[in-house]
């Protein structure tokens, strides 16, 4: 029986891994209600998962397509404001808000891409930086919708018009979307579009000789990255229930970039690992240490140092550490065998 389950698990990798990961994450509210972990841990983990979704989009863009966006925070912020406006001000259903709040940033992203991607890949970084700053200015100035600096509020989502979620329910919804995004991402990078993106990143000459329309694929991967950012924004809004302009600054975009560099470029599990390190370690560990915990910018120093160390020792991200651990483990194991023989 046990063996059967194990075989099923192995033959359905990596879906089974992703779903198992989702099930483990879903147990967290239970642990909180049993009093085994702190109430605030749920908030920290939820935001880590939201940032994971956003970072997965950026990893598709950077790792697979070789493009950089510095506008992640802006598009995420746009998602928060849109969904807040649609659900709280207009009173429309959550599902509709979700679709519109992902679609509108995506369209704006595509328009940005249409202009900037025609020339060279790195113009996207400049254009997105500008768009992100414009968006932040819009969040401040259009105060009849956004409430300016005082920020905007929303409620936990109500699904299908009757299923009102609470804090735990919204957390489970976030887990669901993360697992969905992980599966979609895995499928995409292992299909012909994913290979086309990789080819484009590795050699534009080979890509166009093989019939890959570089401009179209750049736009496509940017559109996907933006929609993942906006999706993250929507989930953030309905979990944190509050958004304000200064939450969506360049620093956040750079932190998402750090997630990928530290965790693992071109790796789904690496992205999750990176998000836990960049957004988890400062909150969960650094703040509790003596002396270091009282330094204001400790998180920035930690991330900066980590980026340098990772680039030196694991240029493709910390996720590759597992191969070294495995190797050392094997070595130890084999030595044991030799001694016996």
């Amino acid at each position: 029986m046990n063996n059967k389950l194990m075989n099923f698990y192995k033959s359905h990798k990596p879906y089974s891994q992703f779903i198992l990961f989702g099930i483990i994450l879903s147990l967290l509210p239970l642990l909180v209600s049993l009093g085994l972990v702190k109430y605030s841990l749920l908030t920290t983990v939820a935001s880590i998962l939201i940032y994971s979704i956003v970072a997965l989009g950026l990893n598709l863009l950077l790792g697979y397509s070789g493009l950089i966006s510095l506008g992640t925070a802006g598009f995420m912020g746009m998602g928060t404001y849109l969904t807040a406006f649609i659900t709280a001000d207009l009173g429309l259903p959550f599902e509709l808000a979700l679709i519109i709040s992902v679609a509108v940033p995506m369209v704006i992203g595509v328009l940005t891409g249409l202009v900037s991607l025609r020339i060279e890949g790195y113009y996207l970084a400049i254009a997105t930086l500008a768009i992100s700053e414009i968006l932040r200015k819009v969040f401040v100035e259009f105060d009849f919708i956004t409430n300016g600096f005082s920020g905007k509020q929303a409620q936990y989502p109500k699904l299908l018009g009757f299923l009102q979620l609470d804090r735990n329910g919204t957390y489970i919804l976030i887990v669901f979307f993360l697992i969905l995004v992980m599966i979609m991402m895995h499928n995409l990078v292992n299909s012909h579009t994913g290979r086309a993106l990789s080819t484009m990143r590795g050699s534009e000459a080979a890509a166009s000789a093989m019939g890959i329309n570089i401009y179209r694929h750049r736009l496509l991967s940017f559109a996907i990255a933006v929609s993942f950012s906006a999706l993250g924004g929507v989930l953030y809004m309905h979990f944190v229930k509050y958004t304000y302009p200064n939450a969506w600054i360049l620093m956040l975009s750079l932190n998402i970039l750090a997630v990928i560099v530290i965790g693992g470029i071109r790796s789904i599990s690496g992205t999750i690992l990176g998000a836990f390190i960049v957004f988890g370690v400062p909150d969960l560990i650094l703040k509790r240490l003596p002396i270091i915990g009282s330094i204001d910018g400790a998180a920035y120093i930690f991330n900066g140092l980590l980026i340098i160390l990772v680039i030196l020792f694991y240029p493709n991200g910390l996720i590759n550490m597992r191969f070294d651990i495995q190797k050392n483990f094997n070595k130890l194991f084999r030595r044991g065998e030799d001694n016996n023989g």
Partner: protein, 265 residues
């Protein structure tokens, strides 16, 4: 209007200049169906530039490039987009191998059939039936080609770290995915040792006979070219020196001067 019976490619009065330098100067030649055609010339003669003009990586200043496409019609390639060329039935390899290090060998070969993949983004996101079928079909085709080249043992390995001769073969395999009418090979034997070259010669001959396609290749190595090509075109400084069978080209005085230098008496 078919102005080129039995021809697969016809280059007419091709010219391109970079700044003041005429890299290709009023060059004309044509390739018969089912022929292995060699383009030779000393370093800097403009051979790769000719290739880049044919495949529309460069836009020629002047001239026409007529190509008999998969459907049998004759089309002028000049002005087409680079990524449209492969769909006409013309595919190329590169002088400096352009494979993707992060993909496996078989995945790299599958990229060669990119334009035949039709499943939608939604299909791909959720790996629905259409995507799965398509992936399986193309993977099988890629594996058959690799098997034919004796590479099936490394098909699931990453391209990074494979020996040079193997990389050349993988690139050739990628070019075969769509059963092209004409394959353009940019210095296929450069950097190969003798046994690798021999194996490549056999593969190219097999491609010609089994797949009924024409081959245009650039090469430095005269021995390689003479043993393989049906006809040869020699150029220097972007200008045509001579076209003919390998024997004729070897006898040609101008070609000898270009290659060996002129003796002054």
């Amino acid at each position: 209007m078919d102005n080129m019976p039995d021809k697969v490619l016809k280059v007419e009065n091709l010219s391109i200049a970079f700044g003041g330098l005429k890299a290709v100067d009023n060059l004309s030649f044509d390739i018969n169906e089912g022929e292995i055609f060699g383009l030779i010339g000393p370093n800097g003669a403009g051979k790769t530039t000719v290739f880049n003009c044919i495949t529309q990586f460069y836009k020629p200043d002047n001239g026409d490039i007529y190509f008999r496409t998969n459907t049998g019609e004759v089309e002028n390639l000049v002005g087409k987009k680079t990524h449209e060329i492969i769909g006409k039935g013309l595919v190329r390899t590169f002088q400096n191998i352009e494979l993707i290090r992060e993909l496996t060998v078989v995945e790299n070969v599958m990229v060669g059939a990119h334009i035949e993949f039709k499943s939608s983004l939604f299909n791909q996101f959720f790996r629905l039936k259409k995507t799965r079928q398509e992936e399986n079909r193309m993977r099988k085709r890629a594996e058959e080609i690799l098997d034919h080249m004796g590479l099936s043992s490394i098909k699931d390995m990453l391209v990074a770290g494979q020996p040079y001769g193997v990389l050349k073969k993988i690139e050739l395999a990628r070019a075969l995915m769509l059963n092209p009418k004409l394959i353009i090979l940019d210095e296929p034997a450069a950097g190969l040792n003798d046994s690798e070259t021999l194996s490549l010669v056999n593969i190219i001959k097999e491609i010609k006979t089994e797949r009924n396609c024409s081959i245009l290749l650039i090469e430095h190595d005269m021995k390689f070219v003479n043993g393989l090509c049906d006809r040869i075109c020699a150029i220097n400084f972007g200008k045509l020196l001579a076209i003919g069978t390998p024997g004729e080209i070897q006898e040609n005085e101008q070609v000898q001067i270009a290659y060996l230098g002129k003796e002054d008496y």
